[in-house]
Amino acid sequence: MKQNQTKQIVTLGITLSLYCIIAALALSVTYSVTLPQIQLQQKKATEESMKSIYPDAISFTLCTDNEQNPIFHNQVIDNCITLDCIYEGRDQTNLLLGYLVKGSSLGYGGPIVFIYGLDLDDTIHSVSIIEHSETPGLGANVIKDHFLNQFKGKLTSDAFLVKQDITPITASTITSKALSEGIKKSVTYVRENITELTNENEN
């Protein structure tokens, strides 16, 4: 009786592990098949938004310091604004068109991940939203061109004050403020530290 029971438990255990092993195998096969495509998609998402900012650029390289670490990586500027990283956008002749600043700012529903172009003459080139979780119909209008186009051509020294030089999205002051403050503070931060960056590039 007792032996029977142990035998039964062992068979059950083996059966269950067999199922698990087959499942894990099937998954790892699918994973390895789809992995390149998944990575491609992730790269494409950022690259597409970079391309939309500088259509003439053909190469985007991550700016790194002497030890090959990305500069400004996950740099916290204040408790709701973080810099993610900076890219250089260059055209066919390898001419530097501008920098692409990627960062995030805490909006109404969560972080708003944005990327914008910073021209060499200190103006904002244009802004694009990579990710957000704002309320549909309200804050989600943050992706609309009529709001984002307001940032185009602004000097880094401008105030970026919602209701003064930026018209907010209807009934979504918090979202509008989050984005404009995110851009203002990150661009100021980059401006203050960018001399180092250009030097590095010359070296």
């Binding site: 068979t11 059950l12 059966t15 269950l16 199922y19 698990c20 499942a23 099937a26 998954l27 699918t30 994973y31 789809t34 495509q37 998944i38 998609q41 992730q42 998402a45 990710e131 309320t135 549909p136 119909g137 309200l138």
Partner: protein, 205 residues
């Protein structure tokens, strides 16, 4: 035979609708019905997992020990869900983002577990395919009927196309959480009313 096929395919529509009548799988229905396109995506995802799990379990039904059936069902469903996640990430990344956590949560959708337990683990493969399709159809109809109302009233669009021009102001509440509860409540009311009327008619005949 034909009537059997028809019966298996259509029973989920109204009579045994998993959402409206049996009130299962409500979480994803309410959360994802913000827009018709998300609802369509969710329906396809649900169909993928339900049909494949039902088929697999129906094939393996003789090799699944009774005492271990629940964990094995879960392993099989979870595997298909994970495969689905890979496929979505690889080929439909925006849909994957929009459906978010509700894709992995298909694993604990009571509809699928329920169908497997009461149908696929006992019936032959072909019937299980039909059952899976039928139940997914019912799920799809429920989620779409909610999504259509919510997107039209809450956003003024259908599948992203503007319906009424700019003078129409949508009532945003319909795409906020309270709108989901409101719309499903009224739709269930209508369905109950209609089916009650139908059964009364039948009785009077």
């Amino acid at each position: 035979m034909k009537t059997k096929i028809k019966q298996l395919l259509t029973k989920g529509l109204l009579k045994e609708n998993p959402v409206f009548v049996l009130m299962l799988g409500l979480c994803s229905v309410l959360a994802v019905s913000v827009s018709v396109i998300n609802a369509l995506g969710m329906t396809l995802a649900f169909t993928f997992v339900t049909v494949l799990s039902e088929v697999t379990i129906s094939v393996l039904r003789k090799w699944i020990p009774k005492s271990l059936r629940i964990p094995i069902f879960i392993v099989i469903i979870a595997s298909f869900v994970t495969i689905l996640q890979f496929l979505l990430q690889a080929y439909f990344p925006s849909l994957n983002k929009a459906l978010g956590i509700f894709i992995p949560l298909i694993v604990v959708n009571c509809i699928i577990i329920g169908r497997i337990e009461s149908f696929a683990s006992k019936k032959p493969v072909f019937d299980s395919i039909l059952d899976g399709l039928g139940i997914s159809l019912g799920y799809g109809i429920a989620i779409l009927s909610i999504a259509i109302v919510r997107e039209i009233l809450g956003n003024g669009t259908i599948l992203g196309y503007s319906l009424f021009g700019t003078s129409f102001e949508p009532a945003l509440m319909f795409i906020l959480p309270p709108g989901a509860f409101l719309v499903i409540g009224i739709e269930i009311g209508i369905i109950n009313h209609v089916s009650k009327k139908a059964s009364r008619k039948e009785a009077s005949k």
